[in-house]
Amino acid sequence: MSGAIDYALWIPVLPIVAFPIILFLGNVFKGTDAWRGRWKEGGTIATVVMGTSLGLSIWLIIGYIGQVTGHESVGQVGNWLSFHMVENGNLVSYSFGFGMYLDHVSVMLLFVASFLCFLIAIFSLGYMNSDPVNLDRNHRFYAEFLLFCAGMLGMVLADNFLWLFIFWEIMGLCSYLLIGFYYERPSASYAAKKAFLTTRVGDVFLLIGLLILWNLFGSLDFSVVWAEDNIAAVDAGTLKIALFMMFVGAVGKSAQFPLHVWLPDAMEGPTPVSALIHAATMVNAGLYLVARMYPFFASPAMSGEFTDLAILIAWIGGITAFMAALIAFVQKDIKKVLAYSTMSQLAYIFTGLGAALWFANTGHEEIALLAFGASMFHLFNHAMAKGMLFMASGSVIHEMHHAHHEVAHHDGEHEGHGDNDHFDAQDMSNMGGLASKMPITATAMAVGSASIIGIPLIGGFWSKEGIVGAAWKACLTPGGAWMLGPALLVLITAGMTGFYMSRMWFMTFAGKPKTPVANGVVEQTPFIPIPLVTLTVMTLGGIVFAGFEFVHWVADGHAEMHFSHVLSGIGAEMSHAFLPSGEENGGLIYLVTMLTIVISTIVGPGTAMALYGGRLQKGEKAKPWLAWLVSLSARVRKNNHFDNSTWANSGLAESLHQRLHFDAWYDSAMLKIVVPFANACAWFDQHIIDGAIKGIEYGSQEGSSVIRRLTTGSGRDYIMMAALGTLAIFLLIWGVA
């Protein structure tokens, strides 16, 4: 362990250091050929830095897996802030150190963050640098990108809640900067403000929660607040308030109901930013925070105290999962579908964590750890799949843009970007039939969608089954009746996921091209295929991770990774997933599992095929592993007599287009509450505060005109007054003495 840990601090520090360097170099060398060409406007530096961070992370992780079992705090790197306070007459000193805390969860997230950040850096080399809109300002993107990555890496490694919060806020800042990258567009700057302010609501709660926690424990170090004796010594009610506040912070960061409104608008940023926010960094932070609350729930001293909070977490997850999937049904923008899919999948993880916390709090430690592990595994799978999906959608959008320019040029229209306004390269109703033109992207998109849907044996399948199973187990356990809602919601959402993800794929890649632009698309941008292929392999390799007993490994601090038992591990996972277990209620859980598989792999995608499938244009051929899917969808569609136009024109669809009116409600709440409040504040400022100052001014004017009469101008009167004043002072002192 000693070798890697010495350099572990550099994992977050390297990107932080590179951040100002890129900004500086970018401003100095902006526009020169070498900077644009060889240096990729800072992209080369960013890629090298993230590659180094990834290398250090992997080195650290391999050392950790090989030698450490159990949760381990790896030393205080330094004393960052210490201060002294007088409490009850005694001088007490507090200090906040910066150290690193490694356990199975942080190690997993460290890998997710550094790996995806590196791949996104490579993707950006192709995506950002070949778009003329970004010319000469890419250094800003790469600098902020690195700071963002540093925020996530630092947050994952931090060994106390204070540093966790600091890095959390760095991410909030970077999300603002990057979502508003195209600040000249009003919609982008609006989206950036919205994201920043919405997450700020959650952050205020988080800060309050941390302050309560600090008040209770006198420290924010993980090692102190998680110690069994310390937890037993504090008041359960107060601790529950603190945990609730922290959970609200997580809700804001991970875009859960009711603070979800920022996430779809965050699509205004460039696509690599979407991939970064949705897969690698930002939204995982909230889940990480909730995962960090696990020891409080598992403490025997708090047994049964927090069940309602765990149920609330599961309910928030269930509601968000269902709502986001519903809204995703009608989205036409390819990135918006993915955004709502992110919300929905994160909500799955929240439900799984809610179930895990509930089990932990009611004393079912074994099942709790399994549910916890399944949630973390879903985080891993979702990050890999969603990173890939966003990059694939970026590839589609980029090539659509390019093809549009070609078409516009040939039609003799004027060159430049003025024509962007009436062609939406992100609109799926402009696409279609891209399966033959973009084989790598189409494959990546298919595999990523399969992982999100939970097609058996691919990444997300293993974890999603675990989460649905855990929620149902919780609701079948005595006292867990309240979990029935989330359990039902996630079960239904599994089918809905199958529908909207397949709908996206078929609208984009199957059928005939719907516009001449889509007909001219060619997959040609360099660098973009590298991350797509890598992540496709990672996602398909989900079965290998399952074989490592990933779920058990992440959950149970004392399990080792069985590198040598992959095959038997896969066998165990397969029988766990597909065969009824002998435990209590095993039959019903088995039924639920099978139902999940059926509705998510057959009902959902089948409906999507019936509505949106279709054969490719004549003469076009997809790769064999995609061709069967396209022709299957064409066959399903042919035999379909289902007419969905009444649905599409119904009031429900209309309100789904309006995102279930949440934005309108929030806006009107702003108008009704915040604006009058601001007016009241303005009135208070103008009349009370300004009034007091004006009163002082007026009073002194009037008073001085009275006192002015005392100035006779005669020297003798002044001497008289001075003498009397002296006498008065003398008498006063005499009286006091």
Binding site: T711, T712, G713, S714, G715, R716, Y718, I719, M720, A723
Partner: protein, 100 residues
């Protein structure tokens, strides 16, 4: 030796007389003389205290005060002369420039 207490009492009497004169009289020269009396009342206190404590500091201050009083008289008389040159009076009732 006389009890220094008597010197202090005399100083208080002189101070009161001087203050009374400075506040009530109209003639500027008499006011100037009254101020001299006040200063000398203070000098008397200094000397008395110096004699009681056997400390030379009080005498030194007295010498300074006399020197400053001489300078003050010279300046004061010069001001009155110039005032008389302008207004042909040195009545303090006419001196109200401070009001403006």
């Amino acid at each position: 030796m006389i009890d220094p207490m008597w010197a202090v009492v005399l100083g208080v009497c002189l101070f009161t007389i001087g203050l009374w004169g400075a506040v009530t009289r109209k003639n500027a020269i008499i006011v100037l003389m009254c101020i001299e009396i006040i200063l000398n009342a203070v000098n008397l206190n200094f000397v008395a205290a110096a004699a009681q404590h056997g400390d030379v500091t009080g005498w030194v201050y007295t010498v300074f005060a006399i020197a400053i009083a001489a300078a003050e008289v010279a300046i004061g008389l010069a001001i009155f002369l110039s005032f008389y040159g302008h207004n042909e009076t040195i009545s303090l009732d006419e001196m109200e420039l401070l009001k403006h």
